[in-house]
Symmetry: C2
Subunit: 346 residues, 2 copies
């Protein structure tokens, strides 16, 4: 496999280098073709590298950064003062072609704004969107976007999200004529927000998009659609709600095998059944699909959960690697040209 370089914002997220550095070492150990530029404060990062293997360290370079963008900073302000920050330097490395993708667990608004500023949106895209791929009940996958890159979305943005989502479903998940739905609070045409109804009217007339109508939150995991389009607020709410419920179930499953006085073989059997259940539900575990892709840019940017642990951050790094290998931005750009041009004519 050809070598591949990723720029990682070591300082972002709730835990900073304590999580990002071990995750980076883990990723380097399991992918021998990977090179990582680790951007952050060397005084904090270096001690965390002390015990790492030399075969891993020779593919790691620490790029010093003076500052960190706080996760509670106002994005506009953070962007103004971003020079020298770990997030900005990581994005600049992508811009300059030194890295092929960037991963950060930092301030979502700032990442979105800086990425747009530095990497520029693709032709025809007003604002990038955060996208993730969720496993669903029918053993397939659903592309969901926007997950919070844009707090408010107008109908044109929703249409652009639909196009980008369809391209990802087709080009990356290899789904022919992917079904596209809008998230709404009812399935009837008259339901919901004006922006959603307007986007529906455009999508219904687009021959390029296999638009199937509205879906509600309870269909997030049913596999009724290949692409679920929503504004960033609703997308964030539905994803986080799903995560919360899944985490609750997994923790209940785990705890229900413990504590009670029972024969050893009963306990053993209970654990065995619960393990099988956990395996079955585990693919919905937030730790296993962490990493939302910022779509619509001329480069690959992966946003990890702020609260990601080492395992989850390592998953985000792998997502970046895969997005680069699958040439997501290039494919979207190529398809957007055709789709948007034709829908303009329609």
């Amino acid at each position: 496999m050809t070598r591949l370089t990723l720029a990682i914002d070591a300082m972002g997220g709730d835990f900073g280098p304590c999580v990002t550095v071990p995750a980076v070492l883990q990723a380097l150990a399991s992918h021998s073709h990977l090179i990582i530029l680790l951007v952050g404060n060397p005084d904090i990062i270096t001690p965390l590298l002390a015990k790492a293997d030399s075969s891993v360290l020779e593919r790691l370079r620490v790029i010093p950064a003076e500052s960190v963008i706080a996760s509670d900073a106002r994005p506009s302000q953070a962007i103004r003062n971003s020079r020298g920050s770990s997030m900005r330097i990581a994005l600049e490395l992508v811009k300059e072609g030194q890295a092929q993708a960037c991963v950060s667990a930092g301030n979502t608004g700032a990442l979105m704004g800086l990425a747009k500023l530095l990497l520029k949106p693709l032709e025809g895209i007003e604002r990038p969107a955060l996208m993730t791929v969720l496993p669903h009940q029918q053993q397939g996958k659903t592309v969901v976007l926007d997950l919070g890159a844009n707090v408010e979305s107008d109908s044109e943005m929703l249409v652009q999200f639909a196009v980008m989502g369809a391209v990802v479903a087709e080009e990356v998940l290899a789904i022919a004529q992917p079904r596209v739905a809008l998230l709404n609070i009812g399935q009837e045409e008259t339901k919901g927000l004006e922006t959603i109804r307007m986007a529906a009217a455009v999508l219904r007339e687009s021959p390029q998009i296999n638009y199937i109508g509205y879906l509600e939150g309870n269909d997030l995991l049913t596999g009724k659609t290949d692409v679920l389009v929503c504004d960033g607020f609703a997308g964030n709410v539905t994803l986080k709600t799903m995560e919360g419920v899944v985490r609750m179930f997994l923790s209940l499953l785990k705890s229900s095998g413990e504590g009670k006085k029972r024969a050893w073989w009963l306990k053993w059997l209970g654990r065995w059944i619960l393990k099988r259940l956990t395996q079955r539900f585990g693919h919905l575990n937030p730790d296993q699909y962490n990493g939302a892709c910022l779509l619509g840019l001329r480069g690959t940017v992966i946003k990890s959960h702020g609260a990601a642990n080492q395992r989850a951050f390592a998953v985000a790094i792998e997502q970046a690697e895969q997005a680069v290998r699958r040439q997501v931005p290039e494919r979207i750009a190529a398809r957007l040209d055709t789709v948007l041009a034709r829908s303009d004519k329609a």
Copy 2:
């Protein structure tokens, strides 16, 4: 117990009388103090009553209605043409004092509009909100509103929802100084929509409200708050998402006990463990908490899921009965006077 009369819209919902009539008979059979005015088309309803017990039928009166409001009708249009409809007649029975509460599984927007028109909002309330009480992980309960009565909510409406939710938590769930949170897409003050930030600013300064800040979708069931306030779109999305995930888990739990070739005792044991798990998760089953209360009116109106089955619709009828017994509208009215007056001064 004193007698209590409910007006039921027999025609609303996806299944109409096929679900509502058996649910009404079930409710009458289990609550001997209940009298029901069943509003709808007698030609459809009467055959469904053929096998009912006479002790039940003597507490049931069919009130004829000429029309039904379609669930996909535009609310404004539906309200204009509502005269003679089962939903409107049921609400009029409450208005005239012939029934103490109304239950409908029909068009949410029309129910909201008609209820506001006929029963009038309480002093100080701009628009009523749909509220439900969800069980949470800490064995307690969380009041969640608005669930979709209002597609868009301004900051004043969010504050009013907070006040109403706090009153329900205090007066009905008996929680002293209930914690109130706003649903948002981040916990930092700068996050989310302008309307939410403005509502937060008002709530932070209200001595009457124990405002604790923003919560995200993943905290819907964690019990971190007693009242979760959101606009109707986000509320609907979070509730429906939760329902979808819970349904998926319950169905997976159920199906994972079947099919495989195993020794009978292993199967039996597996089923036993799964049954315990289902019991544990079952309190989140949408069929068991169906029925959102339309808060902020001078009367009790319960909105059932459109897709409710017999069991779920019976739960909605019980909710109506409890709301009447607990005098929810009267208590909210009494508390609103004090709370809103004081927060006006603040």
